[in-house]
């Protein structure tokens, strides 16, 4: 370390999912008292989301295969609560570099707005579903798979009585399994990626350790339970007047199918929630397999910015188990950077496990490629940016007639990505559409710049 470090550095962790909790654990073990900021009411993140107090259900029913891990994380959160400055229900909506170093975090929590000065930052901001437009995708009753899962975990309810699920990632069989287990009626489970990709990946997937195998395990288990699982489907469309009434699709042979349903859960992989890293000034790199920009992260979890540390899906999709390992690893890197004594054996053990997981993850990504080919099937009338009601045709015309070559210019000209979600929902699809229209690789059209507030804040401070 070449720069002065305060004797008692203020450390903040953003996100109390698997990555953030493990990072907090390591820092408290070292005698530090980090601030843990979390939008959630209870720690656990999305994957191990806990129902509100009073609505608990048995962990086995809620988390299935991962009940043990969920319980361990929740126990850890409860044990940590008194050792850290834990701030639930708190959104970090702005991050600004501070002189001479460190950051100001703009937070909105139960006490209103608060500005917190920190020296170092661990970002464990998680991921959200990636969407792709298809006919009817904005109808009431269409959810993402993640939202379908949240409904189940947090509220103990399904998104509908007769549910169709569509996806392109390990989340699809997982949610199907959870819904089936919870007693929901599944009208269809449709995978838009070809079965061939998974068959090709099987030799490598067979090497997966325990929990990473669960996507495949759920696929098998789902099939065994007689779930209506179909792979390689195309031309997904939701029918309905005021709400979802049916789902239609083409099978791999081109035959049209239709099932009646009253809710659809559909999403196509995950995207890193990386706006905080963006505002903190981290450099981003394009990840070609999942086709998304993510903050640059060293194997130990260091960001390009010397005082930012990254862990979990917010900086590269790896799943919950990887997030725990990364949370632990990046906190060790942070301690090392603070000049604390290092545990080389522990670091090496984590590095080995993370390296192994990285190989398995590559196999998993190969099994569930992001279905960017579906972009060509998006009709010109289809809404892509639902916040602002911007159609695919408007985006394509901006490319061909208005010189839009880059995402921020596309946003300026069309308003796509300019609404409430700031392009978190439509950004990937819009980038793919722009790139396809220009016939250039998707990374060349760049990414939407993050802007505060990361999520909406009320004009009047709540009191």
């Amino acid at each position: 370390m070449s720069e002065p470090v305060p004797a008692e550095p203020t450390l903040a962790i953003v996100g109390a999912g698997p990555a953030g909790l493990r990072a907090a654990q390591v820092l408290t073990e070292a005698g530090l008292r980090p601030i843990l900021l979390d939008e959630g009411h209870r720690a656990g993140g999305q994957i191990y989301r806990r129902p509100p107090p009073g609505a608990e259900r048995p962990a086995a029913a809620l988390y299935g295969f991962e009940a043990g891990r969920a319980q361990a994380l929740h126990d850890l959160a409860d044990a940590l609560a008194s050792q850290i400055d834990y701030r639930p229900d708190t959104m970090v909506w702005g991050i600004a570099p501070r002189a001479p170093f460190g950051f100001d975090l703009d937070c909105l929590g139960p006490r209103g707005h608060e500005r917190i000065a920190v020296d170092r930052l661990v970002l464990a901001t998680g991921a959200m579903d990636r969407t792709l437009p298809f006919p009817g995708w904005t109808l009431p009753g269409v959810f993402t798979l993640g939202a379908a899962q949240i409904a189940l975990k947090a509220q103990g309810m399904a998104i509908g009585r007769r549910v169709a699920l569509v996806g392109a990632g390990p989340l699809l069989p997982l949610v199907a399994h959870q819904y089936a287990k919870a007693g929901a009626t599944l009208a269809a489970v449709l995978d838009v990626t070809p079965l061939g990709a998974k068959v090709t990946a099987v030799p490598r997937l067979a090497l997966l350790p325990g929990t990473l195998a669960k996507g495949v395990w759920y696929t098998v288990a789902g099939a065994l339970r007689g779930l209506p699982v179909r792979s390689g489907v195309r031309a997904i469309a939701v029918e309905g007047g005021r709400q979802v009434e049916a789902l239609t699709w083409d099978d791999a042979r081109g035959r049209r199918h239709r099932v009646a349903c009253d809710a659809v859960g559909a999403s196509f992989g995950l995207r890193s929630e990386a706006q905080a890293a963006d505002l903190a000034g981290c450099r981003f790199v394009f990840e070609p397999v999942t086709r998304q920009w993510q903050p640059e992260r060293s194997p130990e979890g260091r960001a390009s910015h010397p005082h930012v540390y990254l862990a979990g899906d917010g900086s590269g999709i790896g799943g919950a188990d990887v997030a725990e390992l990364q949370g632990e690893r990046t906190a060790l890197a942070l301690l090392a950077d603070l000049g604390r004594p290092r545990d080389a054996a522990r670091e090496a053990r984590l590095d080995r496990r993370l390296a192994r997981h990285a190989g398995f993850r590559a196999a998993l990504d190969a099994a569930y490629p992001y279905p960017h080919h579906l972009v060509d099937g998006i009709g010109d009338d289809e809404i892509v940016c639902r916040c602002e009601g911007i159609t695919a045709g408007t985006l394509r015309r901006a490319a061909t007639e208005r010189d839009a070559r880059e995402m921020n210019r596309l946003k300026a000209l069309t308003r796509a990505g300019m609404g409430r979600c700031q392009g978190r929902v439509c950004g990937h699809a819009a980038a793919e559409i722009l790139a396809r229209t220009l016939a250039v690789p998707v990374e060349t059209v760049g990414r939407l710049r993050g802007q505060a507030p990361i999520k909406p804040i009320p004009l009047r401070e709540p009191v």
């Binding site: 609404g419 507030p453 004009l459």
Partner: protein, 382 residues
């Protein structure tokens, strides 16, 4: 390295630069325009979007009056919906002394042909019953309005291209010089020879002037902007206040844009960023003006880099050191409305050496004796 030889080279890609490219092509001259990033993406594209004559320095009013005429036909000329609507611009008084300021301004503005209507508290509330109790009166400029700044600059750039201008984006200019026979402009990937040179480099206009031995103290200026989610239409006019600490308008889409105070300007990477404390302050001030917005959600904030002169009016005119060099920069936070007419004026200066509009107040020589840097502060009137 691409080499171009043209009649006129333009440094900068804002509205003034791009509209100059259009006007010069219309005058039959060949043009090369060099923009460091994307045309219309700087101060031209991220400003408040006010199309306002009211409240301007009187020396700017003749230009602003002339510009206002152009705004009526701008959408047709650019073949782009620029979102211009003459909603009126209303400047609010929050004290009797504010009202006295508005009365004095209205009196003097009449001499420039700008008709302003003074409204007392009752008349104002009859029209805008949603205004908060802090407001005691106002001055209304019915012919003013608002537009979508994000689309105007790019549309001018496209029109310039259609008319045959060589527009080069991502081409930051490293240096320009005059060798006695003409100008050489060295930009990334392209070198331009020209007979005339237009300096429309915004916050960097002073640096360009310096290459030709002319002093022009330009400070970075980064107005801080915030926008709400789309809301039902309420704010019928573009709103400013005496003192300039907050300004508000509602877009056609329904978003309420509010500005006030300053972001940070990073002159190294050339980017401006909003400051959250400033955003929260503008939100508070907006609520005192329009309490009904209490439940609105703010979805975004931003800033942009403009150049500000010590006397808050731009440099527009012929170089005092170098024949063939023409300046237009330092619009000090209110260049958007003027942009379309500045292009015409620049074309007049290049082709005739003079303009139909009075430019004496904007001459660069006013800073000839200036020494040292200049740091701007205070509010930007809107």
């Amino acid at each position: 390295m691409e080499r171009l030889t043209v009649d006129v080279a333009i440094i900068g890609g804002g509205i003034a630069a791009c509209s100059a490219a259009v006007a010069l092509r219309e005058a039959g001259l060949t043009v090369a325009l060099l923009e460091k990033r994307l045309c219309g993406g700087g101060a031209s594209g991220v400003n408040f979007g006010g199309v306002r004559q009211q409240g301007r320095d009187f020396s700017e009013l003749p230009l602003s009056r002339r510009a206002r005429v152009l705004w009526d036909g701008l959408g047709a000329k650019l073949a782009e919906d620029v979102g211009f609507e003459a909603t009126g611009h209303i400047k609010l008084a929050r004290s009797e002394s504010d009202m006295a300021v508005l009365e004095a301004y209205a009196r003097d503005a009449a001499e420039y042909g700008l008709d302003l209507q003074l409204l007392g508290a009752n008349a104002l509330r009859a029209e805008m019953p949603w205004l908060g109790p802090a407001v005691v009166g106002a001055s209304l400029s019915p012919t003013d309005g608002q537009a979508n700044p994000r689309v105007v600059g790019p549309a001018f750039a496209r029109l310039a291209r259609r008319l045959g201008a060589e527009v080069r984006e991502h081409a930051p200019v490293r240096h320009a010089a005059h060798d006695g026979a003409g100008f050489t402009v060295e930009a990334e990937g392209v070198s331009v020879r020209s007979r005339s040179l237009v300096n429309a480099a915004g916050a960097y206009g002073g640096a360009v002037a310096g290459w030709f031995g002319e002093a022009a103290p330009v400070a970075p200026l980064s107005p801080n902007m915030v926008v709400t989610e789309p809301l039902p239409h309420l704010v019928t006019r573009s709103i400013g206040v005496v003192g300039g600490d907050v300004y508000v308008r509602q877009t056609r889409r329904g978003n309420v844009v509010l500005g006030g105070g300053r972001g940070t300007a990073d002159s190294v990477d050339g980017l401006a960023r909003p400051v959250s404390a400033t955003s929260l302050g503008a939100m508070d001030k907006t609520l005192t003006l329009i309490p009904d917005l209490a439940h609105a959600q703010v979805i975004r904030s931003w800033s942009g880099l403009d150049g500000e002169m010590p006397d808050h009016i731009p440099v527009i005119g012929l170089s005092a050191s170098t024949p063939g060099l023409v300046h237009a920069f330092g619009f000090s936070g209110h260049g958007f409305q003027l942009g379309p007419v500045v292009g015409e004026i620049l074309a007049e200066l290049v082709t005739q050496g003079r303009s139909a509009s009075p430019l004496h107040p904007f001459r660069i020589e006013r800073f000839a004796a200036w020494r040292g840097p200049y740091r701007s502060e205070g509010e930007i009137e809107h």
